[in-house]
Symmetry: C2
Subunit: 186 residues, 2 copies
């Protein structure tokens, strides 16, 4: 792998694990096996490298979500597949994790890809719920935009509860509870 790619994927890994505040340029260089000069040759500094790394993680998250949400099956089935797909629960969400970071939230350039990813996800879930409503899978009274936000929140909050507990159990319970509420007849 080229140095620039190693720097980007090293930064992705550290941002996921330690956040922006907790990631030093030195640590990225160490993980990437790159010298200081090499890093500053490719990127103006930590913020610029982080921007590229966050963009890359955002792309990966979208592609992973689209695998289920744009896959085969009814709206209900696709949402269940999205909720139920295998996840590294105790690592948390590589994008959601950044919302806890004060410097990401305070910097419009760093926050933008985080904001856009969740906006896209909520929009995509809204479409799938609306489609399910149209096909009679969900009750007429269900508001797709609200339901989409609830689905996204259960996953993000599930990660928080799981990391707090040191176990994926609360994540699984929260997702099962949401499935029960979305499928009240089963």
């Amino acid at each position: 792998m080229e140095t620039v790619e190693r720097l980007i994927s090293g930064a992705q890994e550290l941002l996921w694990e330690r956040g922006y505040v907790g990631t030093s340029p030195k640590a990225v260089q160490l993980v990437a096996g790159a010298g200081q000069g090499s890093m500053y040759h490719h990127f103006a500094g930590k913020a610029e490298l982080a921007k590229v790394a966050i963009g890359r993680s955002a792309e990966e998250m979208r592609a992973a979500a689209e695998e289920q949400l744009g896959g085969a099956g009814t709206a209900r089935e696709r949402i269940a597949a999205y909720l139920g797909r295998e996840r590294e629960v105790l690592k948390g969400c590589q994008i959601g994790r950044l919302a806890a970071d004060p410097e990401v939230v305070a910097d419009p350039e760093l926050r933008a890809p985080v904001a856009e990813t969740f906006e896209w996800l909520r929009g995509r879930l809204t479409e799938v719920v609306a489609e399910g409503k149209q096909n009679g899978e969900f009750p007429e009274t269900l508001d797709p935009e609200r339901t989409a936000a609830t689905i996204a929140a259960v996953l993000q909050g599930g990660y928080v509860l799981a990391r707090a507990a040191g176990s994926p159990e609360p994540f699984n319970l929260a997702v099962q509870g949401l499935n029960d509420l979305l499928n009240p007849t089963t």
Copy 2:
């Protein structure tokens, strides 16, 4: 306020805003208006002060939740009041925020009060949902433990989405969506 109290509440504030990794002993001393000697007179180090501060924040979070969950009204009404109470959404949850922190999650002594607080919250919500089921407010098929985890996750995930968006809107949508699912007849 005594120095020791100023150190604790200063640490609470910084842990909420910047997390454990992002909080230096120097910053706590500055916020508390205390010297280095004074801080180390009261606490062995950052970890010990943080443990006390996290314990204090956990107590505050429990008391705030109990105000609605142990208040007057039916189970449904108490859950709705808990979900709908005023929150500093963009600040996030002072306890949930710590689950994103790698050093809190890695240290059993620092993680314990975070884990216990959410265990208590999920247990308390389980009781209220079970009570509502017994009184015919919720359907027989609802699993109280799962539903409780979903409720806690929606709030924690709502904070994540709101901070990502730089707006409380996704938090409010997620909570409204959960209310819709919990009250399908209204």
